[in-house]
């Protein structure tokens, strides 16, 4: 049984009088430890698919099962608890909380879990070490570069030891050099920590770091390609 299973998932939006269907009866599996990249033209439902898997949006039809839990059947509060324990989300624009330091931003998800303060501290320190920012722990987001902010965002996504990490254009707002560093980091986390990842990107070079690449167009998967490790 796959870690993530999507079965017959559809999602439509109303835009004025027009109805847009970015996802139409989609089914897919993500195995544990897999790193999948999703590519495709704008408006084809990549981010919608990501939001459905992460439980911040609901499908019109179909089921999404993550590690045996059908997330489409959970209430808002249950979904929040489920996300706290099972999901890491890497945003395109980092979305760090500006009034909290890097350490406090990374610590946030652990506050939602039943952990002792020592366990929390250990996890935060390990996560910051994994992204190479132990020396920036007490810096506020405004004191960090874009690449450092994104690495804090990645540390925040992995600190709770989630079953799945989703990344929405994680390199979309970074320059080429910083983008390369983040790609290497994501690949390392997948390989060394066996973190299951689903990543949306426009950039085929970024998509290539994944173990499997999917292309989504007009609500359907067009092609699949096995990724080449760099």
């Amino acid at each position: 049984m796959a870690l993530v299973e999507l079965r017959g998932v559809s999602k439509s939006f109303s835009k004025g009088e027009e109805t847009i269907t970015p996802l139409d009866n989609i089914s897919m599996d993500i195995e544990e430890g897999e790193f999948i990249s999703l590519m495709g033209p704008s408006g084809t439902g990549k981010s919608t698919l990501l939001n459905l898997v992460s439980g911040i949006d609901r499908p019109d039809a179909g089921t999404i099962t993550v590690d045996g839990t059908d997330v489409t059947k959970l209430s808002r509060t249950q979904l929040a608890d489920w996300r706290a324990a099972n999901l890491g989300y890497i945003f395109q624009t980092h979305n760090l909380i500006p009034v909290l330091t890097a350490y406090e931003n990374v610590e946030l998800p652990t506050l939602l879990l039943k952990l002792s303060s020592a366990q929390r501290r250990q996890r935060v320190e390990l996560a910051l070490e994994a992204v190479g920012l132990s020396d920036r722990a007490n810096h506020y987001p405004r004191q960090l570069s874009g690449g450092q902010e994104q690495r804090v965002g990645i540390a925040r996504a992995i600190v709770a030891h989630p079953k799945v990490v989703v990344a929405d254009e994680p390199t979309g707002s970074l320059d080429a050099e910083t983008s390369d560093q983040v790609q290497i980091l994501l690949q390392r986390l997948n390989r060394e920590l066996n973190i299951t990842m689903l990543m949306v990107t426009h950039d085929s070079n970024v998509a290539a770091i994944a173990t499997k690449q999917l292309i989504l167009d007009r609500g359907k998967f067009l092609a699949r390609a096995e990724g080449a490790a760099r």
Partner: protein, 377 residues
């Protein structure tokens, strides 16, 4: 998560400071208005107001126009239910409403010491009883006028030497100056030998105040001057009737202050939530429950309101205890006093207003569509 709320408030410190000071000013006014109402309530209710009567000249209002024979006291004492009668000569510097009214009550010093709830905080009763122009001064008047024992105090044609300062369990008493009856009767300009302004009647425990009042007026109807006798509370309410209307209106001002705090804190919290709607979406994406998000916003609004409200309340209590404020008219005064009840209600109202004003933005933050909020730039 309280750290997150505190840091957020600190980050927007100008907005926080303005909101807190607005709430403080509004609650300061609210408590001040409340203390005036409490003062009026104290004056017109309670054992002193209900168990003693004031005999005044019929159809007269200002103390300067009521002139009753002093020997009416003997006739009043004969009525069943009367325990004691104290003839009082009243002199005031202003018959109209004033914030700095000075009221002299001239009466027998021994009766004053026996019947009035006064405690001398400095000076001596003996000097007050033995010296003709001696006066004991209420703490509030002394505060307002900067008076101390030994000072000579003159106002109009009256000049007294201060023999003592007193406090009282009846706050309005602290706005009075007591002299001997003879001194005030013979003061220049009063020409009141053998006359008094009013008689204060103490009742026995089982006496019906209304029956005794009616008997007094009937008995004195045949005398030189007709009288009107009322319970002390009713007399004071009637004397201050113009102010009572104003104070009645002022309680709307108190409600307006609460409304002001409500709208001020609600506006600040709504702005704060709208500015950070994406932040709340991020928190929920991480796994913060909608109810927790709601609590974060409510904590923010409640903190703003509580800090401002409690500060305003404490400042009002401080001003009321140090200022010795009073308003009076026609010889009766209302003392503004701080009270535990007022401090408690000010703080409780701040707490309630904080929660109520935070509810709409809290609901907004907790029910947002995460996906839509994350798309906001």
């Amino acid at each position: 998560m309280i750290g997150y709320v505190l840091k957020t408030l600190w980050r927007h410190r100008t907005r926080t400071l303005l909101t807190v000071s607005g709430a403080a000013v509004a609650m300061f006014v609210f408590c001040f208005v409340g203390s005036v109402q409490e003062g009026l309530h104290r004056l017109t209710t309670g054992s002193d107001a209900d168990r003693s009567l004031i005999v005044f000249q019929e159809n007269r209002f200002c103390p300067t126009t009521s002139r009753l024979p002093e020997d009416y006291a003997t006739k009043i004492r004969e009525i069943n239910g009367v325990r004691d009668v104290m003839p009082i000569q009243v002199w005031t510097n202003n018959c109209r409403a004033s914030l700095d009214i000075v009221v002299f009550n001239g009466a027998d010093p021994i009766q004053i010491q026996k019947s009035r709830p006064l405690t001398l905080v400095s000076g001596s009763w003996q000097q007050f009883q033995s010296q003709r122009d001696a006066a004991i001064v209420g703490r509030n008047v002394a505060n307002r006028r900067g008076l101390k024992v030994g000072d000579q105090f003159s106002i109009g044609d009256i000049s007294v030497r201060i023999a003592g300062l007193f406090s009282s369990t009846v706050p309005s008493e602290e706005n009075l100056i007591y002299t001997s009856l003879a001194f005030l009767q013979y003061a220049r300009g009063l020409n009141a030998a053998g006359l008094v302004t009013q008689h204060e009647v103490q009742l026995t425990d089982d006496a019906d105040p209304d029956r005794v009042a009616s008997e007094i007026d009937s008995k004195l109807r045949a005398g030189a001057v007709a009288t009107k006798t009322r319970r002390k509370g009713a007399f004071q309410a009637s004397t201050l009737s113009d102010l009572v209307d104003l104070i009645g209106f002022a309680h709307w001002l108190g409600y307006a202050c609460v409304g002001l705090v409500l709208s001020l804190v609600a506006t600040t919290t709504v702005m704060s939530v709208q500015d950070r709607i994406k932040e709340y979406a991020v928190l929920q994406t991480i796994g913060v429950r909608p109810l927790t998000t709601m609590r974060l916003v409510l904590t923010e609004s409640t903190l703003l309101c509580l800090v401002g409200g409690v500060t305003g309340t404490l400042l009002a209590m401080l001003a009321l205890s140090l200022g010795g404020f009073a308003i009076g008219a026609e010889g009766a005064t209302i003392a503004f006093r701080p009270s535990v009840a007022q401090a408690f209600s000010g703080s409780a109202i701040s707490l309630c207003v904080g929660v109520i004003s935070g509810l709409p933005p809290a609901i907004q933050a907790s029910t947002i569509s995460i996906v839509h909020a994350l798309r906001q730039s």
